[in-house]
Symmetry: D2
Subunit: 202 residues, 4 copies
């Protein structure tokens, strides 16, 4: 089953939720501290999305301007490659997950996230890319399926709510949070930013 021609209702819903999610993110100065070097992106997949052209993302990603999160461009279909492929892969296991965001990772945050997920009853997992087979590292486009499979296996067969990866040469480690739609995903990652940054400052 393919995504098919988009209806006006679906397009309004997707643009509306993405616009509101961006307002949440740009309105959360603490999230600036969790934007990774590669910048964050927020994706929202159409139902039955199979290709990156069916995934809405923020054109130019979310960067930091004047110390605050700033969407460089507008939500657009096809604006993400990496996060789009990730959500497509995840949805093969759990099609209810249509949205995701990537954010910073470091050892201190990783430990904090593990505790936080535990307190929320969220599944959490880690991908250790040192275990990625050489033939997969070298094959174009083969890493993403391996990574998502590894994250799900490490979580006992379920798609984790939050996961991160470590150990790759030439790749910044990032955390990922997934959910059913982008507005809640934005609210969840901003709550993390406020709690974590509050504790780090305190």
């Amino acid at each position: 089953m393919e995504a098919g021609i988009i209806t006006l209702e679906e397009e309004i819903d997707m643009h509306g939720r993405m616009a509101m999610a961006i307002n949440v993110i740009e309105g959360c100065p603490e999230f600036a501290n969790l934007i990774p070097e590669v910048r964050a992106n927020l994706v929202y997949a159409r139902n039955n999305a199979k290709t990156r052209e069916e995934i809405m993302a923020i054109d130019g990603r979310v960067t930091v301007v004047s110390g605050r999160p700033h969407a460089a461009g507008k939500p657009k279909f096809g604006a993400s490659s990496h996060m789009a492929r990730l959500i497509i892969e995840i949805r093969k296991t759990d099609p209810s997950l249509r949205a995701g965001i990537d954010f910073a990772n470091n050892p201190h945050l990783a430990k904090w996230l593990e505790h936080y997920c535990h307190s929320k009853g969220w599944v959490f997992s880690v991908i250790d890319r040192r275990f990625e087979p050489e033939e997969i590292k070298e094959a174009e486009g083969a890493s993403m399926p391996w990574k998502v499979k590894a994250a799900i296996e490490a979580a006992g067969g379920k798609v984790p709510k939050i996961f991160y990866e470590t150990g790759a040469v030439g790749k910044e480690p990032v955390s990922v949070l997934v959910g059913s739609e982008p507005l809640v995903v934005a609210q969840e990652v901003c709550e993390i930013a406020r709690l974590y940054y509050g504790e780090c400052q305190g």
Copy 2:
């Protein structure tokens, strides 16, 4: 009956349609020729909106950058004063009208618009502000009710689809097009821009 607390559904619908309407406007280079000196704004009223805080509009209006229409900021409740008061006033006569946009006016365009409205079966009218009573001109906030009343009277009791005003000292004359929601309003005004500019060029 007041607008009341906004529901998530209403907010998603309003943000979604405004985002799509802005994409339509920014994607229509011909509309740059119809942006007035005061810049254009597009408004979308909540059902039962009574105050400008219940009217969504483009923060900073639509200006022209690199020769193309450009929304200076994002859609926001309360971002318009003039167009918000206009749509509130219009909705006292026809509450189905929730959206409107202002654009340029000049004698040649005015004549063209009159013919165009005729061909579409749209009601068209003109407000001659030289007939505005002095006591209304001088009373703060009294002009808008007078103007809208004049436009409706000139149209035989109906809210016109398109109207413009002329003859005021210190006021740029602008045209206004109204409709039930901003996406169709944007499509309609862009069709006008393409047709009119095509004819002017031709």
Copy 3:
């Protein structure tokens, strides 16, 4: 004598002063109150500029976003029509004046500006467009020379530091401040905004 090919030094100087002037304007929230309906523009003419292509201006003008002054686009040669023609005309009398900005006008501000200019030793004047001959109003491009001539005559033969116009049908009255370069012009208009708005609030 024409402006000729621009040197690297001149281009760096013009981009540098415009960028700094925009930082001054965007850093002055009080100036948001003095942005007219037609939006403000800041121009900077090349030495010996004769055409609008030799005048740098802010593409898309300065609008108000989130309650603060916001340059919609970047400084660009040829980005202004109205203010470019004004500075070209002024420079026929005083070629040392290369920069100018337009801002709001109303009767209360007009009186305040007259006193302020007096206290600063600045020449101030008013153009009453009701005295503009009909044949000039109707001839394309004839108004600007008449207006500038009227402003200079009303100031006893000198180009005024600040002037404004009143009384035109279909035209918003704006104030204009001129100077030798845009950074000082921006600082001067922002001092006016802070002083005037401070007094109005107080």
Copy 4:
């Protein structure tokens, strides 16, 4: 000797050259292909700059919007950390170098750059971070001095015009081009983008 209070002349020069450099970069669509995952930044150091507050950089870095390079924010002192520390370190060996930009790296581009530098008579070098001592990797802020020293040693004691690094866990490899001021640096990196992308496409 410290950088001291900035003069108006220096500030105009820095803002002017950065604005023009950004116009060059944004006007080069091919450079979009050379923007790394971490996004590019362009820095311009004050004479005698010792701290990142004395280095101008693009706030929010240069990202890709609508397929073209796009400066997310404006040039600002203190807007870069990584590239600012790099240029400070480089200037300890060659104080005439005040500007630099980072861009993508991959094995194919690396080989191409080596040939290109050879054809231009430019010094080129590579930093292999697998040789970075463990105690330096772990000490906060110690990597940059080591990296710059390694790049200069690999180039026989001179600061290379272009260099890149490889082999770090968790770090995207980027190329760096340095020069005396940002406008020429921007022109040089855009020439590389056009030539390299032209050859890749051809």
